[in-house]
Symmetry: C2
Subunit: 459 residues, 2 copies
């Protein structure tokens, strides 16, 4: 730890200066989705290039069809890592709901003894990405070198669907490939408990349309003799789950693993109960597979959800119609090794087996991506956990997330590397909403955490 201690000391002494640097970046209105702010996006990229150059990175702007990428490299003795973040931010409307100017950041005491940095991007993702740069800066200041070989990729379109990212990865595969990626765009479990995210559910989207008669029918003349496509659809969708909440599609659970007992225990230790999970949204009873906790259900189990359904007359009053068609949007959250293509095919077969012979069904594909799951015992994970545990007051927990982060799938598929997701956001950061903030503690101890992680990875 002889290399690390002075770096941590340096970070403690330079917190004011690091805040000033973050404020400079936060003042740039890099809203990617609004073309009016294109010049501001470029300005943020240029600011980062200059900052990285100032600490010895070989950094440059890379133009794309959209907003530019920032790519930087620095030599080092340890393993080669690629750090990813994004400099673009969400729009700020409705502006009238902000207590302070979203682009004039400040440090405010938000409750006794708790200070936060205000402004759009303070948490997502400018504050988070700067924790990593500050850790690098401190290493250079103290030792004149970095503990790992570090490449950096910052994009400027994360908040608008990352249209340029895949073409860019494809075109710069060799340059960007590292042993693994570090991604700082996630959150801690709570203010005291750091987290490493090792699982993200995948997604398969399907739209189905059941067609029966070639026109809408009067239910008086045809009711009870002609197929009703809403009834057909309801019977299909009503059969998707058994009485224990398991998905009934044959082969659906292929590739799904049971989560190790010690991981389930660690999740139990987080204190999330059915009540604390469902209470805030007005529910009290877990849906889905029986006998599993809320966190296991959303982090480590696959789902079949109906996201939309429509058919027949849905306006005011009543119309005794048997419609010609009815449709639904259905999505599946995938875990572990579930194959999106197989799931899609199995669902389609499941539906087709339930369509009367004189009716038809049309399928429309809406995206598909596999889950991302690291082995809980992988050194990348356990080292990061150890580093975080030393920094924070509670042991770092290996968590999963119910939603998708497409970049980790792209890194795995296109560059053949796994991603470590570590972040210091908090559930109350209000990202994407008015009054976004980032705790000063997140910013400061985030820097220290990255210093520790880089040190641990170098060993």
């Amino acid at each position: 730890m002889s290399d690390l201690a002075p770096v941590l000391d340096h970070l403690d002494r330079s917190i004011d200066k690091s805040l000033e640097r973050l404020f400079s970046l936060l003042r740039i209105k890099s809203i990617s989705t609004d073309p009016a702010f294109a010049a501001e996006c470029r300005k943020a990229a240029e600011w980062l290039v200059e900052d990285l150059k100032s600490i010895g990175f070989d950094a440059g702007i890379r133009d794309t069809a959209g907003h530019p990428m920032v790519v930087a490299h620095h030599e080092g003795e340890g393993p080669h890592v690629l750090f990813y973040g994004h400099y673009d931010v969400q729009p700020v409307d409705p502006l009238e709901l902000w207590e302070d100017d979203p682009f004039d950041p400040q440090v405010k005491e938000i409750e006794p003894g708790r200070k936060a940095i205000t402004g759009r991007g303070s948490s997502d993702d400018k504050g988070q990405l700067m924790t990593f740069i500050e850790a690098c800066r401190a290493y250079k200041a103290v030792h004149g070198k970095l503990p790992c070989r570090i490449s950096i990729l910052f994009e400027g379109e994360e908040e608008s669907g990352s249209p340029s990212l895949r073409p860019f990865l494809e075109a710069n595969r060799d340059e960007l490939k590292a042993e693994f990626a570090l991604v700082c765009d996630t959150a801690m479990w709570d203010r005291e408990t750091p987290a490493v995210c090792v699982g993200l559910r995948g997604l398969v989207g399907e739209e189905i349309t059941v067609k029966a008669a070639d026109r809408d029918l009067h239910s008086g003349f045809f009711g009870g003799a002609a197929a009703n496509p809403i009834t057909v659809l309801a019977r299909v969708l009503g059969a998707l789950h058994d009485d224990n909440g398991r998905v009934t599609i044959p082969g659906f659970y292929e590739g799904v693993e049971e989560t190790p007992e010690r991981i389930l225990k660690s999740w139990e230790g987080l204190g999330q109960t059915t009540e604390s999970f469902l209470g805030p949204i007005g529910l009290s009873r877990l849906s889905g597979e029986t006998g599993r906790s809320a966190l296991e259900l959303v982090w480590a189990r696959p789902t079949a959800e109906i996201n939309g359904i429509s058919g027949g007359y849905t306006g005011e009053g009543f119309k005794t119609v048997i419609p010609a068609e009815a449709s639904a949007k259905v999505s599946f959250r995938l875990v572990h090794a579930q194959d999106p293509d197989k799931i899609r095919a199995a669902f389609r077969a499941f539906v087709e087996a339930r369509i009367p012979s004189d009716c038809s069904v049309e399928f429309h594909k809406h995206g598909g991506s596999p889950a991302f799951q690291l082995d809980y015992d992988m050194p990348l994970v356990t080292k990061a956990q150890a580093a975080l545990t030393e920094e924070w007051s509670k042991p770092a927990v290996a968590i999963a997330m119910g939603g998708s982060i497409p970049i980790v799938g792209d890194f795995r598929k296109m560059l053949g590397m796994e991603s470590l997701l570590v972040g210091f956001g908090l559930p109350d950061d209000r990202i994407h909403s008015p009054n976004e903030k980032y705790d000063v503690t997140s910013f400061h101890r985030g820097q220290r955490s990255w210093a520790r992680i880089l040190d641990m990875l170098s060993k």
Copy 2:
């Protein structure tokens, strides 16, 4: 038959004059749903009053909150009957689809040897109601009297929901009550086969809304743990029928009778097959209860149909939402002695038993009316069948109809009298559509049929 033969002869001789009278009535634009035609509605009522007075009826206009009623009475030796019809017509748009002016009727040869009266209301219901008046006129011309005591009720709001009818029946109960009602607003089976309609299905409408979380949820964060109201709804609606098409609601078939074998045989004799019934709408396989013919299913069996469903995101593309609620409109066609209130209660219990304890369901009532069913052996029915069989080339069939005609329920419930439904419309009359017509044969032999029915009823 001595009284009848000269009446029939008179009708044959006066066909041209009867057509002139009908044309006068058809030229009046009595569209009830459009306030711009209110004066025309009154004009049609007044025309009918004058015509009825001219053949000795004590006839008058009766004002209502909407368009006026026509009420008329005439003494007679036989039983007291109430004849019902309506003088209002459907709107005519889209006008450009009419081959001839809808309010300038004419007789056209529509195929070799087949002549029809053109114009809005020619079939529904001015042509039909005039068949009865012409039969009365001929009796008066030949014998100076009528074979039955006859009251007449014509309304002017049948095409716009009959809002004034029930209050009017309620207020004039004693005056309108007869031994039974004759209603001329239905059709023949085909051009050669007359029909008496002895069954009409009832209707219960229900709208249900399933509510789960108190807001829309992101399926990544909550999918698999929080109740999805669309899934709950699909499971409820998907369970409404068993694999043999029978409705699974406990007690649903209480009051449903099996149709007599000889009636089923007579329906078979009509030559309607699954192919001829479903082919024209692009289907080939009977839905509903297995082992029953198309006609039995729509005429004599109850149904549960989903008429509309909606929930979640139904626009273009995809949104991984778990919505806060989902809803459906469900209707039940009732037969025989099924009780609308019991069916509604049984459905609600069926739904409630399938709602998770932390979700809720709201019901919204949309109307309810029992079925109308005469005994196939009732003298009123068999006499009418005998009279029609004498007039037409094929035996009159006792049929049912899949839809509802509210007036017959009101006559039964409010005036305690049954209704005989006999009409001479044809399936290709295009009622409610452009180019409505009424076969001259329907008009002429319809008059003769009523003369025969009145004669038969007087015996």
